[in-house]
């Protein structure tokens, strides 16, 4: 029969399609004492010197312990693997390690584990995102030249003395350098990392309180408490299951349904319900993140002398209180300096340092802008990527606030950029013609990290190309100060220059938020808004 042969062909083709779906399946083991937590797919492979965002950072924080670790509450850098880090001249440091630290594969943590890891992280051939963190070690430009091939395999500033000791020589004096060592890029690496890199990336091995049980890239990672861990912060739970969610709304739904214990990013849409849904199982606390609007100082229309009045005027035209309340439901706090409250007073945060210039005053704003010669071309355009973070909403609100204050119709407009990648390109190629958003998450809780990379001449993330001799001098002096309080005071003096010049308008400090289930307790966020997993108890 004619029809039957036709049908055979069709059935044949369909069965090929069916066969493809036969794979997959299999159950999951639900162990006791396991914390189920939401996760996002890390952008880069998980390795200490290549991870620069929170999602990969979560894993590293469980897998690794470096020389120092920041106290989740106070942000103080406390010795972990380091016994002591000594210096007499703020430039040459001798690092001594504690006894008894091992990697979970049995290897000992030695001076070599650190030196090898740092040399690897700095080397241009390793293509690690975080290599600039090693830039102040002597010999960095030999392993990481601006162009061309590396001239050396290792940095001359790193010397292994014995199994427990190594010395570090920096390019220039930097008194708070030991305090930067809590950053994950400075983690030690076992031999197995260098021997079989591929295998290590499939299943990372570190010296922290957890080990990787299984890792399905893009989907989930199961971490289990490492029984033989000797450090002071042994895990208080049996392990952590990280599950990748594409949408934080879905993760939140799963939390409500009891499928998840911890969501470390409460979606903006749910902020109105979160109190009713979770009662006191909701955390909203300052993190080391500040959002600013940066002016392109390389564009003379914005950067020429006299324009500081216009820039300050715009700052005064923004009603930060209203916007943080209405749009962010108080998950942002109006900024009054260029650092973050998560630094604490001791670390250099000073409420109100910006003074008048950050206070909402439409009358004054209008006057200042007129005195400064008005907006360039009578217009201002705000630029940001709008694919994440409610950026579109707050930019509209900021523009409304400015337009209302100036009373000249819609002089402020929004320039939405579709993707973060595109926005970053415009930003780092210095192609902006008007103010643009700049978010900054500090790498370590130091005031230096909020100022030097962003506003010093030639700073690695000085997107506005702000240049000021006094500012540079104060930062340099602060870095040479051996006394922490004196260093902070110098940095704050430098910050006052920002208040005068207003190269970047501080908008608000961003909080970290989290919600958790009734099954867990002891949940807290550190200053990087990452949950402190080892402290979570499962009831």
């Amino acid at each position: 029969m004619r029809g039957a042969t036709h049908a055979k062909w069709a059935v044949c083709a369909v069965s090929v399609a069916l066969a493809a779906t036969a794979c997959g399946g299999g159950g999951s083991d639900d162990g006791a004492g396991i914390v189920r937590s939401s996760w996002g797919d890390p952008q880069n492979p998980i390795e200490p010197a290549n991870t620069n965002e929170v999602q990969g950072g979560k894993v590293l924080d469980m897998l690794f312990r470096g020389l120092k670790r920041y106290d989740p509450k106070t942000g103080e850098a406390q010795d972990m693997v380091a016994e002591k880090i000594a210096t007499t001249d703020q430039q040459n440091f001798t690092v001594t390690l504690k006894d008894g630290w091992t990697f979970s594969n049995g290897e000992k943590v030695t001076a070599k584990s650190f030196v090898d890891a740092w040399n690897y992280g700095a080397h241009i051939d390793s293509k690690q995102n975080n290599s600039p963190f090693f830039a102040n070690i002597e010999g960095y430009e030999d392993v990481h030249p601006e162009s061309g091939n590396a001239k050396a395999k290792t940095m001359s500033g790193l010397v292994v003395k014995d199994a427990k000791t190594f010395t570090v020589k920096l390019n220039e004096k930097f008194s708070s350098w030991p305090e930067t060592l809590g950053y994950q890029a400075f983690s030690p690496l076992p031999e197995s990392f260098f021997k079989d890199h591929e295998a290590w990336l499939e299943k990372p091995v570190g010296n922290g309180p957890y080990t990787v049980d299984s890792y399905t890239k893009g989907a989930s990672m199961k971490l289990r408490a490492w029984d033989a861990y000797k450090g002071p912060d042994k895990a208080k739970n049996g392990g952590v299951d990280l599950v990748v969610y594409t949408d934080n709304n879905t993760a939140y739904t799963d939390l409500l349904a009891g499928n998840l214990d911890l969501v470390d990013d409460v979606p903006a849409k749910q902020l109105k319900n979160v109190k009713a849904d979770l009662a006191d199982r909701y955390i909203n606390q300052p993190a080391l993140i500040i959002q600013t609007v940066v002016f392109p100082m390389y564009d003379p229309r914005w950067g020429k002398p006299g324009m500081e009045k216009v820039r300050t005027g715009l700052s005064k035209a923004i009603n930060r209180d209203e916007i943080t309340k209405q749009i962010f439901e108080e998950t942002r706090t109006p900024a009054t300096d260029w650092t973050s409250p998560a630094l604490h007073e001791k670390g250099g945060y000073k409420a109100g340092l910006c003074g008048d210039a950050c206070e909402y005053d439409p009358e004054q704003a209008k006057k200042l802008i007129e005195e400064g010669g008005g907006l360039p071309g009578g217009k201002v355009q705000l630029t940001s990527n709008v694919d994440t973070g409610s950026h579109r909403e707050w930019m509209d609100a900021v523009c409304n606030s400015i337009n209302n204050a100036l009373g000249k119709g819609s002089v402020c407009t929004v320039n939405p950029v579709g993707t973060f990648a595109d926005f970053k390109n415009q930003q780092s190629n210095f192609k902006m013609t008007g103010p643009f958003r700049s978010g900054w998450q500090a790498d370590y809780p130091l005031i230096q990290n909020f100022l030097q990379p962003l506003y010093a001449t030639g700073g690695s993330s000085n997107y506005g190309k702000f240049e000021n001799k006094d500012f540079d001098r104060l930062v340099r002096e602060a870095n040479q100060e051996s006394d922490q309080a004196a260093a902070v005071a110098k940095f704050q003096d430098a910050e006052k220059i920002l208040a005068d010049q207003m190269p970047a308008i501080p908008l608000w400090y961003q909080n970290g938020s989290a919600g958790y289930s009734e099954l867990v307790s002891g949940v807290q966020l550190n200053q990087f808004s990452v949950p402190v997993y080892d402290q979570i108890k499962v009831d």
């Binding site: 029809g3 042969t5 036709h6 049908a7 062909w9 069709a10 083709a13 069916l18 493809a20 779906t21 036969a22 794979c23 997959g24 299999g26 999951s28 797919d41 890390p42 952008q43 880069n44 492979p45 620069n52 965002e53 241009i124 293509k127 690690q128 995102n129 290599s131 600039p132 030249p145 601006e146 990336l201 399905t216 890239k217 893009g218 989907a219 990748v244 969610y245 594409t246 949408d247 709304n249 879905t250 993760a251 739904t253 799963d254 349904a257 499928n259 694919d387 579709g418 993707t419 973060f420 990648a421 595109d422 970053k424 390109n425 780092s428 900054w440 998450q441 690695s460 993330s461 000085n462």
Partner: protein, 307 residues
Amino acid sequence: MGRYVIRRLIQMAPVFIGSTFLIFMMVFALGDPVAALFGDKAPDPATAARIREELYLDQPLWKQYLHYMGQIFQGDFGTAFNGQPVTELMAAAYPVTLRLTMVAIFIELVVGITLGVLSGLKRGHFIDSSVLVLTLVVISIPTFVSGYVLQYLFGVKWDVIRPTVSVDAPLNELILPGIVLALVSLAYVTRLTRTSIAENVRADYLRTAVAKGLPRRRIITRHLLRNSLIPVVTFIGTDIGSLMGGAIVTETIFNIHGVGYQIYQGILRNNAPTVVGFVTILVIVFLIANLLVDLLYAVLDPRIRYA
């Protein structure tokens, strides 16, 4: 028949090359992805240059495309930024999406055709008008609304099912997402079947069949339905393609790590290998689905022949 199939398969080659080039060009136009890898920080120029060199991004567009196609013919679809080969991503994502699509298509076929036949046979009756209203309502509700509402009701409020799909995505967890995905198409299938049935009920051959005294059941399934299904089959065929690529919303709501998720992620990160690789496979799926539809015509209507 066999020759026809082979001819169609050969015709796919130019379509394949043309569409991959267009997609490649569009992703290329999105701009340089390397800067975004560095987060809020400014990219380190030396490292960024190395990454560009490795990904062939420092070459002109045509060279990049040739290089990419050369790789594809060796079975290498490139590497995503997180270090995973794209083929690995595909092996993980396609089975999941395919399973979801089949659940959706199954629901569309069973429910859609049944409702369509019922309302087609009982034109103007109560059942016809209620199906009409129902399909109207379904068509006018966007997928994300029905998705979130059903998820909340079944997953959180009544606690009947898991609100999200686990990593392995077993079939039973895909039923609700499948329903959500099927809803809109289901309404179209119902409408198409109804119209087609209503038309063919008055056809001469059907009157002959009735006059011959055939049992009603045989008349409906063998004579009426089979001839009425041609437009429905065409619709389902193209729907397979769009369901497999366009399930982004449903996949996001139910946290299914399928094709939609990977493409979305790829676009956000300007990751050309992921986007082009996945869309290329989608193009092939579309082409094959169309071929199957054409072959099915012949099964349904013996007057159509291929040689």
